[in-house]
Every structure is written in C-alpha cells, then in structure tokens.
C-alpha cells in the first residue's frame, strides 16, 4: 500500500489512478498511522509552496514524514511535492521546506522565456538510476511550474530538462525521490517512470 498524502493541495485522484495502472494500491490519507504502515509515501501537490508547508504543519504531518524518511522508507514528491523536499523556496518570500535534499527553489528569470514552464519537455539523463530504466533522452514528460530546484549537489539530479537552465526533472537522494513534472499526466513515459518506482520498492 502506498500512502498518498492528502493535505488539501488539489486533486489527488489522478495520482491514485495512475498508481493503479502499474499495479500499486494507493490510499489517499492524512492519517499518520497509515503513513507509518505504508510501503512508500507519495507527496503530491499543486499551488504555492508556503501554503503547502502551512498545510503539512496544520495537519501535523511533518514529524511523521521525517520519521518515515529517517527509517529509510521511500518518499516520492511530485511537482510542488518535490519542491517541498528541499531546504527552502523563494516563492513569494522565503520559506523553509522539509530539508531532505540540500538545495533551494528559485524562479525562472531568463529574459524572453514563457513562465510557467508549461508543456512536454524531454528528460536528459544526468546519472544512472533504476528510476530511469527504459527512459531515453527522447522521452517527453509534462511539466507545469514557475519555480525550479537548484540542488546543492547536482549529483542528486537523476534527469533534467533544458529550459533556459537545467531544470531538475527527477531528483534522488537515497530514499527520497522527486519528480518536478507530472508522471500521472505524462502518458506512456509517465507510466514507465511509475513502473520503475514500483521496482525500486520491491
């Protein structure tokens, strides 16, 4: 069972449905006991960084996430959920994150680019990982975001996309994984990535 953390940041059903496609049973929950029992935890999310952190605090979920990550349980953050894994974000201020991966979240600033970074972009593999098994540099995934991660150690980046800068698409530091794009909306490539995630768990 995979716990999909429900902290009032948009619709989580699409993530649930996509997990079903690869034979993973998702449970949409904010119950800490279920987080503790889960095989892995998924932290989805859309919207603003500060609101998302405030909601995690409001539902008293941070300690449970910390404890499970410390135990070695796999945590997958998707979109905003990935950004929360870092130390801090500069989205409309300066806000602390969960600090599982060293680094910061900053806004796209290059002149002449459209913001948000919206649409299908290809993943460029930065380092080997089971997460990108059967994924090539010709594979496209669906992004929509205005801020991106700048990890302290670029070796935490498994794959990135080019959009004025190298935009981390998949990050991994031990048992903590993030995907900036939406695997649940990325057609066959997204499915392959979720399959890879499933294999890592087994």
């Amino acid at each position: 069972m995979i716990a999909i953390v429900d902290y009032d940041v948009g619709n989580l059903k699409n993530v649930y449905t996509a997990l079903g496609d690869v034979g993973l049973e998702g449970v949409i929950t904010r119950d800490k006991k279920i987080l503790d029992q889960a095989e892995a935890i998924i932290l989805p999310g859309v919207g603003a960084f500060s609101d998302a952190m405030a909601n995690l605090r409001k539902f008293d979920l941070i300690d449970a996430l910390d404890a499970n990550v410390k135990k070695g349980k796999f945590l997958l953050g998707i979109c905003l959920g990935m950004q929360l894994l870092f130390d801090k974000s500069y989205e409309d201020g300066e806000f602390s994150g969960l600090s599982y991966i060293p680094g910061e979240i900053v806004k796209f600033t290059a002149p002449g680019i459209k913001i948000p970074h919206m649409g299908w972009n290809n993943l460029i593999i930065n380092r080997e990982s089971l997460l990108v098994k059967n994924i090539s540099n010709e594979d496209y995934v669906y992004f929509v975001h205005s801020y991106y991660a700048v990890p302290a150690d670029f070796n935490d980046v498994v794959a990135y996309a080019e959009y004025s800068v190298k935009v981390p698409g998949i990050v991994q530091r031990d048992n903590v994984i993030g995907m900036q794009f939406h695997p649940e909306k990325s057609s066959a490539v997204g499915l392959q990535l979720l399959k890879n995630f499933k294999e890592i768990l087994s």
Partner: protein
C-alpha cells in the same frame, strides 16, 4: 527542449461529442472518453472539453464525463463552458480536470481569475478570449459566443488577465474561426511578444502549414476542432510535418 503543443478541442452536449465522423477505428465517436483516448494515442498533447449543454440542471452529466475522462486518459485536459464562479472551478478540478478555461464570465467578473488563481494556482486558470478585428487595426473582445462586442481591447484584456493570475491565454480569432484559411498570425504574434505566459492559438486551422505558421510566430500551442474531427489532418501526420519544419514537437 520544450515542445509546441497540439490540442484537439471537443464540444460536448449532454455528455456526447457534437462534431466528429469518419472515424472507422473507434466504436463510438460521440463518446468523449473514446474520442479522447483516440486523440491521446495519436499524440495529442492536451485535450479541451467544452461543455455546450444549455441547461444548468444538466451540468451534472458533464461532471460525470470529466470523471470518466480523468480515469481513462493520462494526458492533461482542460474544461471550459459554463464556468462562472470559484465553486465551478473546484467541481471540475476535483473531478480530475487539470485546467479550467473561462471566457465571458471573466469579462463580467475579472476577479474570478484572481480568486481562482489564488485558490487553485495559476497553472489551472486559462483565460479564453474571443477576439475580432475592428476598423482601427486592433481587436475587440466579444462575449456570448461571439455575438456581443464588449468594446474592450483584446490585447489589453489579455495583459490584464496575465496580471490577474491567468496561467495561459487561449486566443480565439472570430475572423478566422471556421474559415480554415489559417490562424490570425498578426494577433498571435503580438500577444506572444507582449505576454510572458503561454499562448494557445485557436480558430482557422485548415491545413498542416497553418499550424506551422502560427507556431513559428510565437504561439506555444495550437488548438483545432474540425480538421481533427473530420480526419482531414491526423495528429501523428501533423507532428511529423512540424518536426520536418524544425518545430519542436513530441512524437509518439
């Protein structure tokens, strides 16, 4: 590299797709889920479902369709039609839609854009504008399905929409819509230069070159309905064509 998007638009009335024929390889061409899946397999980058159901009571049928589409299709989709308050956004987003498009209701109440963007994020707010060229060489915003001229300057409205928090602008040119002689290149070029959010061009696609032309002047995505529904253009062929024109596209 970020690719340009090709977006088929499906008009839905009482839960059935209105246009569309000549599809031999799918069973029910009026079923939004079947047709959506077909387009997705062809390589559509996103889908737009536009609810043209006239009566408010029948809106629940449409919500049911949104749920079914979300279960069946793994690409992003936008819902438009009949969205006039934040609660309407919530309903379709919770049913599984990724974005919501507003048109006349935002002209009537521009704060709807801001409220929805604050509540659900800019990424899901698409401002759709029906624009028609006037005699002064600019474009006016029309509402009520293109029947009523508001006298508002379309470019100024698009800029205001961006500052209110829209994540994307869909610009539908009334002059070119249904004529199949190409998109309004001048309007799309102007908007692409002035705005920092993505632009979806709509209205006028007749042949593959029309798509290439509007994407080359700066549009980030091109939307079309009848050329896809009547199978005059296959999305997979279109993507190959655009690729040959050095336009970045995602091919499946």
């Amino acid at each position: 590299m970020l690719t340009k998007r090709i977006i088929p638009c499906l008009d839905v009335d009482h839960g059935r797709v209105v246009k569309g024929k000549k599809f031999q390889n799918i069973q029910d061409v009026a079923d939004p889920v079947e047709l959506g899946r077909y387009y997705s397999e062809q390589g559509a980058d996103e889908l737009v479902f536009y609810d043209i159901t006239a009566t408010y009571e029948d809106r629940d049928i449409f919500i049911n369709i949104v749920e079914k589409v979300a279960e069946a299709i793994r690409i992003p989709f936008t819902i438009g039609g009949g969205i006039s308050k934040v609660e309407d956004f919530r309903k379709v987003l919770m049913a599984g839609a990724d974005k919501v498009s507003v048109n006349s209701s935002a002209v009537k109440n521009p704060q709807l854009i801001r409220e929805a963007a604050l509540k659900f994020g800019s990424q899901c707010v698409v401002l759709s504008i029906d624009a028609k060229r006037n005699h002064q060489g600019s474009w006016d915003v029309y509402v009520k399905g293109g029947r009523e001229n508001t006298g508002i300057d379309a470019i100024a409205w698009a800029q205001r929409g961006q500052s209110l928090g829209a994540g994307e602008i869909c610009i539908n040119s009334i002059d070119t819509d249904g004529v199949k002689k190409g998109y309004d290149l001048e309007l799309n070029k102007k908007l692409s230069e002035l705005l920092t959010i993505p632009i979806i061009a709509s209205g006028g696609a007749g042949k593959m070159q029309d798509f290439a032309d509007v994407l080359k002047v700066g549009a980030d995505a091109a939307l079309a309905a009848s050329v896809f529904h009547y199978k005059e253009i296959l999305i997979s062929d279109l993507k190959n064509y655009l690729h040959d024109q050095q336009i970045p596209v995602r091919r499946v």
